[in-house]
């Protein structure tokens, strides 16, 4: 679409053009966002434009989004990948271009590997069972609050070495901080509160080292220098921000998709080896982040749309994940989809380093729910998604019911 807002010759239905022009995660709810993406793509507009956040292009076709993500030289992650921009330090690695990127990325790569995910699995399984024990006698539960939110937070805390008794306060501070992503002043205040607790732990490790990742961070050098408290705040916020809420959202979506369809559930009980396929399909249909922003480093063009240097470009993962050219019957949850190259973990050098950990948590959550509460019923007709801070989409609640059982799995 033209930069000046002139209506191009395309097949967009009435009003869609106007709605797209005002689209952002702060103006349009997730469900409507997906409808608009589809309408735009169908209407021959795979590169849309919104005037929100001082104007940005939206890439909606799978191949365009993937190519855009792969080209970190043309589409920069600096200064920030979320909108609106806030007066804050860049999120380590995520908001840095190579070569600086890899110095910080190494910290995440070191922490999450196939090995660490496998090592953490028994502990995560125990956490999940502890939470199931807490509600299994009640015959009902609200799984976002009672399972999906705490489990990933506990996993990240185990990963870095936060003590068990500190986990609730770290969770609470992180939730408050990320909820304020749209409000600069409030965000700054809440980030400082989060930092007080978490950076305090790093300082403790400096005097009393332990065999944990916080101790490693306490003395690690990045880009040839020691880290200061500001570095630690953003680094720990990145670990929590990347690993906590995203997985909460994905876990709730996955549970909804598995338990809202009796046939699907029966298939997974009979063939547990298909659970990873269910995980991928839930991630594809319900990406916890609908997309991140990039900034063009030179004049370019996508699908005939000119994108001048300095323009913001939104990489629409949620749209790409439902591109019928890539995923036949894109709105269907298909266990037999086979090759499922969704973009929910991003693509290119910034691909989510925590993916092995998230996939393990999601798989184990479903394994344990299918094993212990196979009669679990979803008590809502339609899942209700909202946008949190940034383009983070989440299920507000997931009420379920089942025959009460005695605890202890």
């Amino acid at each position: 679409m033209a930069e000046n807002g002139a209506v191009p010759a395309n097949g967009l239905p009435d009003g869609v053009e106007e709605e797209l022009r005002h689209l952002s995660c702060y103006t349009t709810p997730p469900e409507r966002t997906l409808e608009l993406f589809e309408a735009a793509r169908k209407g021959g507009c795979p590169v849309a434009h919104s005037e929100e956040h001082e104007g940005f292009h939206l890439l909606l076709a799978y191949e365009d989004v993937k190519a855009g993500m792969a080209n970190h030289e043309l589409f920069s992650s600096e200064p920030q990948v979320l909108r609106p921009m806030l007066p804050r330090k860049p999120i380590p690695a995520l908001e840095m271009d190579p070569p600086r990127h890899q110095h910080w990325r190494a910290l995440f790569n070191q922490a999450v590997t196939a090995r660490t995910a496998a090592m953490m699995e028994p502990q995560v399984r125990a956490d999940i069972n502890r939470h199931i024990d807490e509600f299994i006698g009640n015959g009902k539960a609200e799984l976002v609050a009672e399972l999906c939110e705490p489990v990933p937070a506990e996993a990240i805390c185990h990963l870095v070495g936060v003590d068990e008794d500190l986990v609730p306060v770290v969770r609470e501070k992180a939730i408050a901080m990320f909820a304020a992503m749209g409000e600069p002043e409030e965000f700054g205040r809440l980030q400082a509160e989060f930092g007080e607790v978490t950076v305090g732990e790093i300082h403790k490790r400096k005097t009393e080292p332990r065999d944990d990742f916080l101790t490693y961070l306490a003395s690690v050098e990045v880009e040839g220098r020691e880290l200061d408290d500001d570095d630690y705040v953003v680094l720990l916020a990145a670990f929590l921000g990347a690993g906590h809420h995203s997985t909460t959202s994905a876990m709730a979506s996955l549970i909804y998709e598995v338990f809202s369809d009796e046939e699907r559930k029966a298939k997974l009980i009979a063939n547990p080896e298909a659970i990873p396929d269910a995980v991928e399909e839930a991630l594809r249909l319900h990406p916890p982040f609908y997309g991140f922003f990039r900034r063009a480093t030179e004049d370019t063009e996508v699908e005939g749309v000119e994108i001048p240097e300095g323009c913001d470009v939104y990489m629409g993962w949620a749209a790409a994940n439902r591109d019928p050219d890539q995923f036949p019957a894109p709105d269907e949850f298909k266990l037999d989809r086979g090759r499922n190259r969704h973009l929910s973990f991003g693509f290119g050098v910034h691909t989510c380093p925590g993916a092995p950990l998230a996939r393990m948590e999601l798989r184990v959550a479903i394994e344990e729910l299918l094993r212990r509460v196979p009669d679990l019923k979803i008590e809502i007709d339609e899942p209700k998604y909202e946008f949190g801070g940034g383009d983070y989409a989440f299920l507000v609640e997931l009420p379920v019911s089942f025959a009460p059982q005695a605890a202890a799995g």
Binding site: Q110, R341, G348, V349
Partner: protein, 325 residues
């Protein structure tokens, strides 16, 4: 500096110990020295002149380097590394990426080039082939043996260890840009009794030395060849054939070479980013054959389907792969 928590650390491959890069310095043009110290409180492993170690580098690269320090120094091991632009990437990694403080699994030391007792030695070194000879010379000297060294290199600036060797009357330095090639006929023409010849260097030098001392008898010459080992514990892979279906190109991927590099050398550009199997950018469809997946992107289910692979790091189980390129 504290290390990663122990549970996060991949156990070192069998037969290796973890050593830390304690110092990295330039020895000559294109050659660096790496000083490796034990991570724990134990001594550095014992070794004899002529021994080498295996350095385990990311991406399953394992490279052999001769030890060139002092065997009596049990605090550290010293290796010298020539940057090989056209090599398979091990030396470039050590030059460009490896930093002081890094921890590497180190295999060995092993010795295929041991210095046998002899009253007289003739050492012949070409280029970086000087490295195993340096501790041999020290040992010969300490044993009171007679010795001489013929040391050739591209230019004086490129020749490592000149500070230790130059000025010694037993040493003949032959920078090629000043003096041409080593005069092997002069050095080896006359057979000397009770003399062992130790030679290390590039393949053409070894061939020339073999030819020039054919009349010395089989027992006199000891060579060390630079070549990819084929008996490595976790190997750099075997060679296999790759067919690029759309391009109509067939090529052979060598041990230690990535498919990505081989494909790029054939002129087919595949986007790639991390080159270590973590980002997924170079994912390529497999039309025939069975990949050996070494990446950390694909899920077990993806892997089992064998319909795609990360060509920056993964290799082949079958002798032939057909890729959609």
């Amino acid at each position: 500096m504290a290390g990663l928590p122990s549970w996060m650390v991949e156990p070192a491959p069998a037969g290796t110990v973890e050593m830390q890069v304690a110092a990295k310095r330039q020895l000559s043009e294109g050659v660096i020295a790496l000083e490796l110290t034990p991570v724990g409180a134990e001594d550095a492993p014992a070794w004899e002149p002529g021994a080498h170690v295996d350095l385990h580098l990311p991406g399953e690269m394992i490279r052999q380097y001769s030890l060139c320090g002092d065997p009596a120094d049990r605090d550290s091991l010293l290796v010298a590394v020539l940057r090989e632009e056209q090599g398979r990437g091990g030396s470039r990694h050590l030059h460009d990426v490896t930093a002081v403080g890094d921890v590497l699994p180190v295999g060995g030391p092993r010795n295929n080039f041991a210095l046998e007792p002899s009253p007289r030695y003739l050492f012949i070194g070409g280029g970086i082939g000087i490295t195993p000879l340096v501790p041999m010379i020290a040992a010969a000297r300490a044993a009171g043996a007679e010795w001489s060294l013929l040391y050739g290199g591209r230019s004086r600036a490129s020749m490592a260890f000149l500070d230790q060797l130059a000025g010694d009357p037993e040493v003949t330095l032959v920078p090629e840009d000043e003096l041409g090639m080593l005069d092997l006929a002069a050095a080896l023409g006359e057979v000397r009794a009770q003399t062992l010849i130790y030679c290390c260097g590039p393949e053409p030098l070894l061939h020339a030395v073999e030819a020039a001392c054919a009349h010395w008898g089989e027992e006199a010459l000891r060579l060390e060849r630079f070549k990819a080992r084929d008996d490595l514990p976790s190997d750099p892979g075997t060679a296999f054939e790759v067919v690029l279906d759309r391009s109509g190109i067939s090529l052979t991927v060598q041990p230690g070479q990535s498919i990505l590099d081989a494909v790029a050398a054939a002129g087919v550009a595949v986007p790639s980013s991390c080159q270590e199997g973590t980002c997924g950018t170079c994912e390529t469809e497999v039309l025939e054959g069975e990949p050996e997946h070494r990446d950390s992107v694909l899920t077990p289910a993806d892997r089992a389907r064998n319909d795609c692979m990360m060509i920056c790091i993964s290799r082949a189980r079958s002798e032939r792969l057909v890729l959609d390129l």
